[in-house]
Amino acid sequence: MSEFLRSYLIVFWFGLTALLLASLLLGISVLVRPDKPNREKLLTYESGVDPVGEGWSQSQIRYYVFALLFVIFDVEAVFIFPWATQLERYAGFGLVEMGVFVGVLLLGLVYAWRKGVLRWV
């Protein structure tokens, strides 16, 4: 395994620790907690009345356009990060380039804004 991947292995150990810690506490809780299920207890909670229809009810997802916008801007951010670390080397040239890049994206935001996408519909 390369040194680079090896340094990322610790991330895996951290994730594993979180799962083990939670499982350990859940295991302790299995030993001490009561377990007396009945029909009413296992019903879906709906403010105390019998649940109506499906739990996975239809709901209007009002912000799927926001999700699309998010993808665009997130990709933009991915491009800005490496540029930001090397700005000292690029100096004025890099500044103008990124000004154009960010400008185009800002235009996109303004367009979405004018189209009324950013409004609650």
Partner: protein
């Protein structure tokens, strides 16, 4: 920053074990402190009451009592829920917190990981908790939970962006994505040739800092942004169907993440574990004395308490936003302001 002081001669498994144990402390200690000092005591004082007083002096053992209580609660899985996903959702949220703390440096040698792209990693894993919340809301098969989960997804997506863009200002100034080097850049830097205070980025990146803290508040779903939980509308949002220890896991993860985000904010904007290097005449990272490995974590905890105090103060003081106001605020105010902030920072960086 070279060879790790604590772990130089240890085999790999011992190093990994030490770091993992350190990580557990770094997650649970801030969570416990924040819950007791701020959520129990400060909130009570702000509301003219005493808060817990029975368990231990001034109720200081209340946390243990609470954990004991939650351990004894029945763990109910609703009949119609998607059982497996329902059960693992709290673990995913907790795991996200642990992945996040892995990147925080606590001293010149006291770090868990030293990634070159540390900031990138931090931003990436901070959005893992969204998955946990979304699947919790979906798997409950409950109308309140589903609405809460969808709200959480929409909100975390909207505020992820200002957070990412606010951090870019710091990276432009530091010229690196490595968190250790960001700490170094702040403490070894100077303001107009005067290095008595270093150059903490909160002064030069104040706009970025404010945006970052607002975004953190929203990512943590703390009160002005707590629509996913919104107890007066959605019962308890995505946590409605959870009971017993799984509920507590969500709760721990929420406050542990508040602590970890405060730690990260203090690394990015307040100078992290360091004190201005000019005080002791340190020039490079290798000059830093070993005792900073002990003092560094204490400095970090102090800054963490300071920033979590601000988070909790805002939480107890403000009423809840409306869902459309939340989206409008993110997209029409925070994103344009942070883009302008990036360009101004870049222009000043090139000019000076």
């Amino acid at each position: 920053m070279s060879a790790s002081l604590l772990a130089a001669d240890l085999p790999y498994w011992a190093q990994a074990l030490l770091r993992v144990l350190g990580g557990v402390v770094a997650v649970l200690l801030p969570a416990g402190t924040i819950v007791y000092v701020f959520l129990f005591k400060m909130m009570s004082f702000m509301q003219s009451r005493l808060g817990p007083m029975e368990a231990g002096p001034y109720g200081s053992l209340q946390l243990f009592a609470e954990v004991g209580k939650w351990l004894q609660k029945e763990d109910i899985t609703p009949e119609r829920a998607d059982r497996f996903i329902f059960k693992i959702a709290p673990l995913v949220v907790l795991a996200s917190t642990f992945l996040l703390v892995a990147v925080v440096p606590f001293g010149p040698d006291a770090w868990f990981t030293d990634f070159e792209a540390g900031v990138f990693y931090m931003l990436a894993v901070s959005s893992v908790s969204v998955l946990g919340i979304l699947i919790a809301g979906w798997a409950s098969a409950n109308k309140y939970s589903l609405l809460g989960g969808l709200r959480a997804a929409g909100q975390l997506i909207a505020y992820e962006l200002p957070m990412v863009l606010a951090v870019i200002g710091v990276i432009i100034q530091a010229g690196t994505m490595n968190l250790q080097n960001i700490v170094f850049a702040q403490n070894a830097g100077s303001m107009f040739g005067w290095d008595g205070l270093g150059n903490p980025f909160i002064l030069t990146q104040f706009v970025g800092f404010i945006i970052f803290m607002i975004a953190v508040q929203a990512e943590l779903t703390q009160t002005p942004f707590d629509m996913p939980i919104a107890e007066s509308e959605l019962v308890s949002g995505y946590m409605t169907e959870y009971s017993g220890f799984r509920f507590l896991t969500f709760f721990i993860a929420e406050f542990a993440t508040a602590g970890v985000f405060s730690l990260i904010a203090s690394v990015l904007f307040l100078g992290g574990w360091g004190i201005p290097f000019a005080w002791f005449g340190w020039d490079t990272m290798d000059d830093v004395d070993g005792w900073m490995n002990v003092v560094g974590p204490l400095i970090m905890v102090t800054k963490m308490m300071l920033l979590s105090f601000v988070i909790m103060w805002v939480r107890f003081s403000y009423p809840r936003f409306r869902e459309d106001q939340l989206q409008r605020f993110a997209w029409k105010v925070l994103v344009p302001v942070s883009l302008v902030n990036i360009m101004i920072t870049a222009i000043l960086k090139v000019a000076f």
